[in-house]
Symmetry: none
Subunit: 226 residues, 2 copies
Amino acid sequence: MRVAGILLVEDDPSVRTALELALTRQGHSVTSYATGEEALDHIRSRRPEIAILDVMLPGIDGVEVCRRVRKLDQLPVILLTARGDDLDVVVGLEAGADDYVVKPVEPRVLDARIRAVLRRAESATSDRITFGDLVIDRGALKVMLAGKEIHLTPTELRLLLELVRHPGQVLNRRYLLRVVWDHTHIADSRLVDACVQRIRAKIEPKPAEPVFIHTVRGFGYRFSPP
Amino acid sequence: MRVAGILLVEDDPSVRTALELALTRQGHSVTSYATGEEALDHIRSRRPEIAILDVMLPGIDGVEVCRRVRKLDQLPVILLTARGDDLDVVVGLEAGADDYVVKPVEPRVLDARIRAVLRRAESATSDRITFGDLVIDRGALKVMLAGKEIHLTPTELRLLLELVRHPGQVLNRRYLLRVVWDHTHIADSRLVDACVQRIRAKIEPKPAEPVFIHTVRGFGYRFSPP
DNA sequence: ACGTAATGTCACAGTTTGGTGACACAAGCC
DNA sequence: GGCTTGTGTCACCAAACTGTGACATTACGT
């Protein structure tokens, strides 16, 4: 049996104790806190394998913890939500949660979810970079936006990867043509622009106001996270 | 979080120190050496959980250490190789390395690879991997789908195992040709495609919509469980 | 506000890629 | 020798991808 280092954050003491007990009995090693602040500290110092966060918390709430965690780490997150509130679910998944569970939850179900999430996280062996909503998996060659997989064509992917490799730097068209395409292409063409446009259409919420790939007039393009 | 006893062997002092620091910060316990001889001693006496070996070392090089280690133990090994040196990769994998990482490497990436290898090593002890309906028994060299045994030919099995060894990762045709077949084959050949197609015909419920072996156009194939 | 240069946008046709089935050949087995 | 099985190749086809150029739009200097 796999023993996971679980971080549980839940402000209701009775629920917290009950879940902690149940999960411990299931063979997990659990640490629990009542607030998001403590949780973030724990994550930074103790590096749990998975975090289970109540959405409703005093101070920094679960969704916010999730969002921050996602920024710095690939730590798998399960959100606990009180009502079957669809809005929470959407917000949660957008914040990068791996799963959500509606309370009250049977320990068995939670355990199953934990295992499922851990298992999924396991198979994600690859190097990932996360920029807010955008997750780029360089090993799996996958791009995900708000949890949904985005299909990029080979050239688009190569160009995006090249841009991402130098975050914050302006790369000019000549360079991109040379690196992404075979240098056999004419320097003056709308090729790079067209490709950038195609990528934007896929990953930018509003392509007209790009958040990821910025145009630097007269120089080229710059990838910088929002 | 799991704390691994990592053995790091790298002759360049600055790289060594940097990696040791980064990995330590990531919660691993690291011991490092500059030579293969010291590393072998350490392995025999201290039994680390995983070894990270630079390929280029004075004296006994990383590949050789890997080869010897493999003979006496199942110690997982990650090889560090200088940028883009394909030959090293092939030799390394033939020596039984579990993974290879190209320098310079971001600490995060290395950390992810370490965790992946350790997990794989853990599950390898069972000799049996389950992906949904698909069960691959590496000990018995058998593949079962929904309880029924599937017959794969030797080549098909080698290819499938190679893909499964790196779940979620895209492996390109050139790599597969070299590892699964003897690298004596021409780079441009439909061999891999044909073999994948044959495997799909056997293990995919609907070969036209594969669930296990996914095509990544322009790059290669990826095994990822449903 | 105007003109100009730079960039965005789009459709389409030529090209590339991978799926698929057929086939030839070799090796092993009866 | 005939038969079966495994494996590499090939040709064909559908689908996906991509470069291109014409045109629209935007940003910037004056």
